[in-house]
Symmetry: D2
Subunit: 139 residues, 4 copies
């Protein structure tokens, strides 16, 4: 495990009061954790803005499983990228609609491409790429 | 299944050329599907901006499972909101880091609250709420 | 002027190293200023998520001034909301295209409405609402 | 002026009903204009994701003009990039706080750099880069 470094920062008292209010509301244990979260969030966006960075994330799609041939097509697309898709969870949201979420790991640019292809499939009603991190750079 | 309506729209030829280029790149089968996707995407954002709207989504968190007591705390928080969390998938990203993705369904405001609580937990390195739809309004 | 409060936070040394790298790249004078910026940014988003909060911002639109009646229509819409629009700047981007940026101050919900109306006008090619703060809550 | 092309698209009647409702709410004159707006919005984001693309935009900053040396420093930074900053508007938001909005035109990567530098200046309380287009590619 990595060592912790302690350092001081200064802040206007009104700004600190507003931060503390948010910290309580969101259930943060202390200021350090809240501030570290803000920093990590920006670093994740930075990683994803660089095409060759190894990142992790999820692709979420909503589709109607009654559409003929759709499941097969999605399965095929996923298998074509099996090295990037770690695992898939399928949820029956309603009678017609399914939600499928894939956990992915790979280069930022390739993750974006795969996401575009899946969301572009006819019958996929909505899709989103969620960017996060492998956690390695966020120790 | 719902009926399709066909209607005409007009567009400057340069704009259409750029749209068509993107359609090919993203593998859309035709213009209708690409345009429907843009519309659905905006409607999902609209749903999530209304606190009482029933929405679906995912919460993704990255954490180090070596942190003492963390898994138990996350499990407890999740159970406190079991009526909103449909299902959970856990992936071992690396030696230390886990990715957990929860599929959620409920009111937009409550989904946001749950997401804030989970991301605020000490030891959770990164977290994201992904908004999508139950699919009902996107027929 | 408001008093400064100094307090300590702790951070993993790898995370601090990445933060420091970004601080240098962006020209921040010190860690406090960088961290305050992250906090203020989140508070601004919070203000804008509450409809009745007094906020400031800008509305930017791109349009072709050759389109008949367009300037008059935009002027009229702006005058209808003169109490919210503090000032307007007009830039000739190219032979055909103008950029107009309005500085606005008012309730978040009304600012969003005005922005939607202006962006919806036929002939307006692109528009964006930029959210910021009156600065009062960011002391 | 460029020629208009007319083509047909098909859509589920529920989706069309929701689109039409939004069109009325936002004051769009017709479906074509609303759909063109969605398309242009995505193309602008695409342009800004390519570092060498010529783009337009605004940089908005909020600062306290009482902070000693701040105006001079901002002026100097702006002059160092005078070839990118087309024009500047300054608004007195309150007794202490100013809003300054710069209209910029140039390469996406350089615009982002300039924005980071300005927002990083000590005393700048909040800042935002707004991306739009020179309008050339959005005919």
């Amino acid at each position: 495990m990595s060592g912790l470094i302690r350092f001081g920062i200064s802040m206007e008292k009104e700004l600190l009061a507003r931060l503390d209010k948010e910290i309580v509301k969101r259930g943060y244990p202390n200021r350090s954790e809240a501030i570290r979260d803000l920093i990590r969030n920006q670093l994740v966006e930075l990683d994803w803005s660089q095409d060759d960075e190894e990142v992790a994330g999820t692709i979420t799609i909503i589709y109607d499983h009654h559409v003929k041939g759709l499941s097969d097509l999605l399965l095929e697309l996923q298998h074509d990228h099996h090295e990037m898709i770690i695992s898939v969870m399928h949820v029956h949201l309603e009678h017609d609609n399914c939600l499928e979420v894939m956990v992915i790991k790979g280069k930022a640019s390739e993750a974006r491409d795969l996401s575009s292809r899946l969301i572009g499939v006819k019958g996929v009603k909505h899709g989103k790429l969620t960017i996060t991190s492998t956690g390695k750079g966020l120790k």
